[in-house]
Each structure stands twice: as structure tokens, then as C-alpha cells.
């Protein structure tokens, strides 16, 4: 199989910034040029060749083996191709990703998929706080693409999220969809406390909620066409990773009424 493999060396202990270490960015470089890319974050300017054993040839697939929580910005800026990570990653994985597919077999730190605009991320483990959330100094959080987390996620996922879809097979932490302005967070396990805090628009979907804000109101039980469209879209994009289709009838909770109240929490009914 064509593609490049990076295997993390035992001595590479510092935090590494892997922004741009993606199949599409490396495709035009020789192995020598790839080895000289600076990924270190201290004054030593550690290169990719210093930190990783590099094998294979650049192609549509890039594999990172032996990964751990010291690897930040994994898949950062990826526009196409497939990046497979065997192990866990640190913070900001998939940042500003616009296309392609990022597969992580372990866990992810904070701010997975921040400023993501396209592509698909599949995380087999758990994710930290701020999945798809806005970063200080930025206007919005995640703005497109799909993230699937097979485990659980931390607090404030989708803070100021604008577009895109986050699917969590497990549970979310507190205040999922805080200040959300668009997009969808679908927690198949359930939502933590106070979901949709100050949300303006957007959709949260879950079978149960740990604690509901008093500023959400019951809009009744409805057969919504948009949930059928969403389920079919996700099935087409994700195949077996897609959540089970919602039943035709869902209960809609509207809010956050402390803002414009155009957001919604949908619960199978």
C-alpha cells in the first residue's frame, strides 16, 4: 500500500506541533524535505525526522504510529487524503481541517476540530473539552464537516459552533452547544448538564439530558422532515458510523430563550 508512515521515536518527549503534516501537504515533498520540517515547540526546533522514523512514500494516505498526547494539531489544515493515527493525540487535532478523513484510534485532548470547515474526523476513544468550540480571539467554532466520537466528550462542545455535525456515541460533558449559532450535535448516549446554554440557533439531539436549563421551552412532539434528511445524509456520508435514524416523532425543546431562542433540543419521543 502506498503512503507515508511516521513512527514516533521514544526520545521525542516535547510537545510537537503537527500542523501541515498531512497527506495533501506532504505529497509534493521528497522524504528528505519531509524530514526537515520543524515540528518542535521549544528552542531546539526539533524536525519531523528527529521525532519520527519515516518510511514509505508520500501519497494519499499518511499513518502516524505510536502517537500520544504530546502530539498537538494532528491533521491541522488537512484538505484531502486520509490521515490515520494509531494511538492518542493532544490538543487541537483536526484544527482548520477542510477536507479528507482523520482517523484516530485513541483519545483526543482539548479543542478537537476547532475551526474545522470540512472533511470527516473519527475518534475511536474519548475527546476532551471544547470539541468544535471557538478559541479565544476567534468569532466562531466549528464551521463544517463531520466529527464522530465513539466514546464520550468533555464540556462545552460546539461553543459558538456555526455549521457541521458532531456525533457522540457516548455522553457529552456540561454545556454542549453553548452559544451555538448553527450546526448539529447528536449525542446518542445523552447530554450533560445545561446543554444549549445561550444557544441562538442549531440543533442538539439526545435521548436524555442530565439537567435542562429553565430557559428551554417545550414545543411539543413533532414529525420533522429535517430529521429524516439528517439521518439519510449521515448514513450516506458515514455508512456504519452513522447513528441509528431517529424515530419519526421527536420532542422539540426550544431555546435558549434567554437569547433569540431559535435553537432546539430534539429528543426521540
Amino acid at each position: 500500500m502506498s503512503g507515508l508512515t511516521l513512527r514516533l521515536k521514544a526520545g521525542a518527549g516535547e510537545r510537537l506541533d503537527l500542523t501541515g503534516v498531512t497527506p495533501d501537504k506532504l505529497a509534493g515533498l521528497s522524504t528528505g524535505e519531509i524530514a526537515k520540517l520543524v515540528v518542535g515547540t521549544d528552542k531546539e526546533h526539533m524536525t519531523l525526522g528527529d521525532a519520527f522514523d519515516i518510511s514509505g512514500t508520500p501519497g494519499d494516505t499518511l499513518t502516524i504510529e505510536g502517537a500520544g498526547a504530546t502530539l498537538d494539531f494532528v491533521g491541522g489544515g488537512m484538505a484531502s487524503g486520509k490521515l490515520r493515527v494509531k494511538g492518542s493525540v493532544g490538543a487541537y487535532a483536526g484544527r482548520k481541517m477542510s477536507g479528507g478523513r482523520l482517523e484516530i484510534s485513541g483519545n483526543a485532548g482539548t479543542y478537537l476540530a476547532s475551526a474545522m470547515t470540512g472533511g470527516i474526523i473519527h475518534l475511536a476513544g474519548n475527546a476532551g473539552d471544547g470539541l468544535g468550540a471557538v478559541l479565544p480571539g476567534e468569532r466562531f467554532g466549528m464551521a463544517g464537516g463531520i466529527v464522530v466520537v465513539s466514546g464520550n466528550i468533555g464540556a462545552r462542545a460546539g461553543d459558538k459552533m456555526r455549521r457541521g455535525t458532531i456525533i457522540v456515541k457516548g455522553n457529552t460533558g456540561a454545556q454542549s452547544g453553548a452559544r451555538m449559532v448553527g450546526g448539529t450535535i447528536w449525542a446518542e448516549g445523552g447530554l450533560g448538564v445545561d446543554p444549549g446554554f445561550m444557544m441562538r440557533r442549531g440543533t442538539l439531539i439526545a435521548p436524555k439530558i442530565e439537567r435542562l436549563l429553565p430557559t428551554f421551552v417545550d414545543c411539543g412532539r413533532h414529525d420533522l422532515v429535517i430529521t429524516r434528511i439528517l439521518s439519510r445524509y449521515l448514513k450516506a456520508e458515514l455508512g456504519d458510523l452513522a447513528p441509528a435514524p431517529l424515530p419519526h416523532f421527536v420532542r422539540k425543546l426550544g431555546g435558549d430563550m434567554s437569547t433569540i431562542g431559535r435553537g432546539e433540543i430534539l429528543m426521540p419521543a
Binding site: R163, T165, G182, R201, L224, V225, I226, I229, R232
Partner: protein, 304 residues
């Protein structure tokens, strides 16, 4: 003088002539509803008064019935097509027909029905009916508007594709000596054409009894009756009809591509010649302007 050269199949003379058609722009929408019955009602209403671009602004019709597996929301649906002079000319037609006839129809939803790089606004007008309560959901490349209405939500995609490679005016002229039999044969041809994808037959029931020619003696009109094919004035004009002809019915075909129009004409011809002279059809011809106006020519001899 009647056209007599050609080939006879099953007692029906196929004239050695051609249909002359024109380049048009076209767009398509998928309309779904809780039942196929209501999807068709919405589609029929939206495509009504859509026979000729001259007087109706657009030529419209239902292209095909869609199974739930083939629609974005998994409900029964149909695809309609609208043809006009240009993408710009289609904008008010789309806005008014969808806004007045699909938005208003119980349980309906409306989606893009034509994949194309060039787009027209589809939900960009009807969404404002939501008075600020409408919301959007962008999934992949498509944005869907959810407009609160009294039976739930009207979902409509933001844009629909438009092509400038469409063809309007493919046609068959069915000539005979038995009016009921002629109509029956024309109906069979329309049914056969309906099985061809990407085409519509925009006139009532797919059939025209008032074929037109370009020009008229009256000011302010662009077209007038095709007297050469009118049986009751045969003898007083330069007629195209033989002495036995008492009626002519035309099938006009619009298609997203020239190939689709040709396939539709072929299917129509096959249905007509399959029935043959038994129902009173004596001849099939086609309308043209001498080949000088339309860039698409469909020779009947190439379609049999």
C-alpha cells in the same frame, strides 16, 4: 400540398422531415410529501399553466415519479422540470410557482432536482414566509430552510441547479382520419415518452391540438395557427395535409439534453407505429422552420 415521401411502418407513413428545436435553460426540483398523491398534487399545481414559454413564462411538467429511496427525505416524491428562455427568466417562475403552489401544499418539501454547477435560488424567496422564525440547516453542500407552517415545517433547499444546455420544441405531428383513435394513439405516445428520463411534454395531457407557426397578420402577436396543418382550411391554403386527414395532434417535447429529446421522440414514434393504422393514424410528420431558426434538428428517419 401534402408531404408524401418517407417510410411506411404498420400502415403509418413517417415523413422524411425533421423536428426543429431550440436551446433553452432548464431547472428541476424534487417535491416530496407524506404520500405520492400529495406530492403529485403539489407538482401538478406548480407545473400548471406551464405549456408554452411564450404565454406562460415557462414550460413545466413532471419528469418522473421517485421512490422514497430516491428522495432526500425518504418520502415519496416526483421530479418536475421547468424550461425557460434563460436562467434569469426562470427566477420569477421558480419563486412564484414554488412559493404559491408547493409551500402551500400539505406536507410538502422541495429539493434541488438538477445537479449543475450553475444555481438558481429555490428557497431564497419562500424562506422569508417564515417571518424570522425560519432556520437553516447546512448538510454537506446543501442548505435546507425550515419554514414553520401550520402543519409543521416546510423544508426547502436553498438552491437548485440550472442548465443552459436544455432543448425545447422537439415534436411529433400525428395525422389521421379518426379523431378519437388519433387521440388514443397520441396518449399512448405520451405514455411512452413519460418513461424517458429528463423530458417533459408540457401541454395538456402532453398533447397539443393548436400547433403554431411563426408570425401572423395581426400586430402584437408572434405566432398564429399552423394553417398548413389545419384540416378545415385544406384547399384554401398551402396545406400539408392529404385529402383523408381530418385531425392533427402534436406532441411537444422539452428535454434537459438533446439526447433525451431524441430518445423521447424515438419512444413516441415507436408507440405510434406499434399501434399502426388500426386507430386511424395515417401519417407522422414534424414541425420545423426550414432549419433556419432552431439549432437542433431531429430527422424522423433517424429515429425509427
Amino acid at each position: 400540398m401534402s408531404q408524401t415521401s418517407g417510410k411506411t411502418i404498420n400502415g403509418v407513413l413517417i415523413d422524411d422531415t425533421f423536428a426543429e428545436a431550440f436551446g433553452m435553460s432548464a431547472t428541476g426540483m424534487i417535491i416530496t410529501a407524506d404520500t405520492l398523491k400529495w406530492a403529485r398534487i403539489a407538482a401538478d399545481t406548480a407545473t400548471g399553466f406551464g405549456t408554452s414559454v411564450i404565454g406562460c413564462g415557462a414550460e413545466c411538467g413532471t419528469d418522473r415519479i421517485l421512490s422514497p429511496d430516491d428522495t432526500p427525505d425518504g418520502r415519496p416524491g416526483v421530479r418536475i422540470l421547468m424550461f425557460g428562455f434563460s436562467p434569469e427568466a426562470l427566477i420569477p417562475q421558480v419563486k412564484n410557482r414554488i412559493g404559491q403552489c408547493v409551500l402551500t401544499s400539505p406536507g410538502s418539501a422541495c429539493f434541488n432536482g438538477l445537479i449543475s454547477d450553475q444555481k438558481l435560488g429555490l428557497g431564497q424567496g419562500p424562506r422569508f414566509f417564515g417571518d424570522g422564525f425560519q432556520t437553516a440547516k447546512k448538510l454537506g453542500a446543501s442548505r435546507y430552510w425550515r419554514v414553520p407552517v401550520m402543519d409543521g415545517e416546510f423544508v426547502i433547499e436553498e438552491t437548485c441547479g440550472v442548465t443552459t444546455q436544455a432543448v425545447g420544441g422537439g415534436n411529433l405531428l400525428i395525422i389521421g382520419n379518426d379523431r378519437p383513435g388519433l387521440l388514443e394513439t397520441a396518449e399512448a405516445a405520451v405514455a411512452a415518452i413519460a418513461k424517458v428520463d429528463d423530458v417533459i411534454t408540457p401541454f395538456p395531457g402532453g398533447i397539443v391540438r393548436s400547433g403554431s407557426k411563426v408570425g401572423t397578420k395581426y400586430k402584437g402577436m408572434f405566432a398564429s395557427t399552423n394553417d398548413a396543418f389545419c384540416p378545415t382550411v385544406r384547399g384554401t391554403v398551402k396545406s400539408e395535409l392529404g385529402p383523408d386527414a381530418i385531425a392533427v395532434l402534436e406532441i411537444v417535447i422539452d428535454g434537459l439534453t438533446s439526447t433525451a429529446v431524441a430518445d423521447a421522440m424515438r419512444a413516441g414514434l415507436k408507440a405510434i407505429t406499434g399501434i399502426g393504422a388500426e386507430k386511424g393514424v395515417t401519417r407522422v410528420s414534424a414541425g420545423n422552420y426550414g432549419g433556419k431558426l432552431g439549432q437542433y434538428h431531429y430527422h424522423l428517419k433517424d429515429l425509427i
